[in-house]
Assembly symmetry: C2
Homo-oligomer: 327 residues x 2
């Protein structure tokens, strides 16, 4: 795995739109804030293209992403948002060329398909994180928790302050942030894989299916009813993808119920938490549920394709030191 | 493939609940109507079990289904409805025992996972059809079109009247029934596979993934937005499942848009039909779209695992003669 260089003041970040269309106002706000922090922002004129639910054609979006990785002026690649569309461009990407030009890559939700493809096909560590439209360019900006772990992960100076060179850093969840709940016991180390559950399920059976063997699986989702979460987890289970796990991080599953729908009680086996419990509570591996990550203002940044450690007894997640570039 | 014997007056049909909970009133109405037609109905006391979104535990539902196939008194197995749950019991079924006791099996929606498992793991022809809760037990009963092709498929006497021993029968769509539209040209013969697109996608990557090689793929769905249909078809495409197709039957995709959502124009590439067009219009195979099958009152019954023929020039679908039992 290659861990791309972290950001330094003066670096250039390229905004891209590999999935759904972008909102100009939010992208502009994200640009201003990152410029104030010392970065230069680059983007293509056609980044705001809108073709149905896509930010322009598959060809346009793939070319833009390849340009971002190949342009020597660019140091990091920030997809503006998720939505849907990354699965449509996987076959148009040149993963060898990306591997030869490793750059910091962020995002979440639909970006999950790119994360796993970059991890597995380009050997690149990437960052599951807030993005320009949902966090960096939100009216009320990144929440303190989200900002701490975003910049602590992707910015060299903030990272050096946060992380111990030998032990990495613990994710600390102060009051006001969802409190992780541990299932199982003991500790587990493994490379972190996954992201948005819908995407993890949607690449099953394809060459982009996620390798979960000896890994720690991260999942989160939005607008998926409990039976749909069940169906996706059952797909992973039948595909053997839950068998070789060392641990799991279960993030937020927001808006799982219709507004007019009565929510099942917390202890109900068929509530969201009940479904998660069915698959993970007695899996014999350390699990952290209700972790502050996902479609939620408290959205922790974590490295994908890199090592993390779950301590189920302490109820904590530790990000281990990244591999040096070229390791 | 084994084509199980069709129904004769005096035969016994067992109602089962392998997925979601059943409605007593509709099941009672379906029972009455089938009894009036000369059948005996059998069911277990616990068929109306309700555990969250499931009709009782996985074990209960699996035992009930196995009992239906193994009980020598039972001639046909009618799941009351779909919903969700069949994927949770696939590993609890004894397909060799089912193969040794071939019986007529019907249903649609979530039942798709059982259809394909019975086709592929028990070598049994099954019937994609209305069910007791949605059609047979509906207040206004099966619509004439649905009734004609349901009984014409599953009842020996009606079948003999409908089908030519050499040529089988054409599905005819009179006024008031959705009119199929052909894409591509020429004719294709192949075994029919598929059903509900969400389930076809949800078994990808598992031992129950659907073998589409040299097949004619049937898909329909309900409550799935265009981008979700796109995502599922992209999964199948990336998995290579659209490559070896001989043809496709695209059924109804009902309630694809939220009520308060503006529907895209018919010609829009990102409407439901636009998405289907992207994958199937130029696939070089005969395709029938807007076929009257799915979550819709006009729900044609078609045999799965058996041969059908699409004639794209005539815009028709022909059900070919079934293999003899034990063939």
């Amino acid at each position: 795995m290659i861990a791309p260089p972290l950001l330094k003041p003066g670096d250039t970040i390229m905004f891209v739109a590999p999935a759904g269309p972008l909102d100009r106002q939010r992208m502009e706000l994200a640009k201003q804030r990152l410029e104030e922090r010392g970065y230069r922002i680059k983007m293509r004129d056609d980044m705001f293209a809108e073709t149905g639910y896509l930010a322009g054609s598959d060809q346009r979006r793939a070319e833009e992403l390849m340009q971002a990785f190949l342009d020597p002026e660019v140091d990091a690649v920030f997809p503006g948002t998720g939505g849907y569309g990354t699965m449509r461009m996987l076959e148009l990407l040149d993963f060898a060329a990306i591997r030869a030009n490793p750059k910091l890559f962020i995002g979440f939700s639909d970006i999950t398909a790119l994360h796993s493809a970059l991890n597995q096909h380009a050997g690149l560590v990437t960052y599951h994180s807030p993005n320009p439209m949902w966090g960096l360019g939100s009216e009320d900006n990144l929440q303190p928790f989200s900002a701490k772990y975003f910049f602590g992960a992707v910015e060299q100076a903030a990272h050096d302050e946060l992380a111990d060179p030998q032990d990495g850093y613990l994710i600390e969840c102060p009051d006001g942030v969802p409190q992780p709940v541990a299932w199982g016991s003991g500790r587990a180390r493994g490379r972190l894989v996954g992201g948005n559950l819908s995407l993890v399920a949607a690449v099953e059976g394809t060459p982009y299916a996620i390798d979960t063997q000896d890994a720690i699986l991260l999942i989160e989702d939005v607008h998926e009813a409990p039976y749909r979460i069940d169906r996706m987890l059952r797909q992973l289970q039948l595909a053997g993808k839950l068998e070789g796990l060392r641990g799991a991080v279960l993030g937020q599953f927001t808006d799982a119920y219709d507004e007019d729908e009565e929510q099942p009680a917390e202890g109900d086996d068929f509530s969201v938490n009940g479904v998660l419990r069915q698959y993970f509570a007695d899996a014999g591996i350390p699990v952290l549920m209700n972790f502050p990550i996902g479609h939620y203002p408290q959205n922790c940044t974590l490295p994908l394709g890199a090592e993390v450690e779950i301590d189920a007894d302490a109820g904590t997640l530790r990000v281990l030191p990244l591999l040096a570039p070229g390791h």
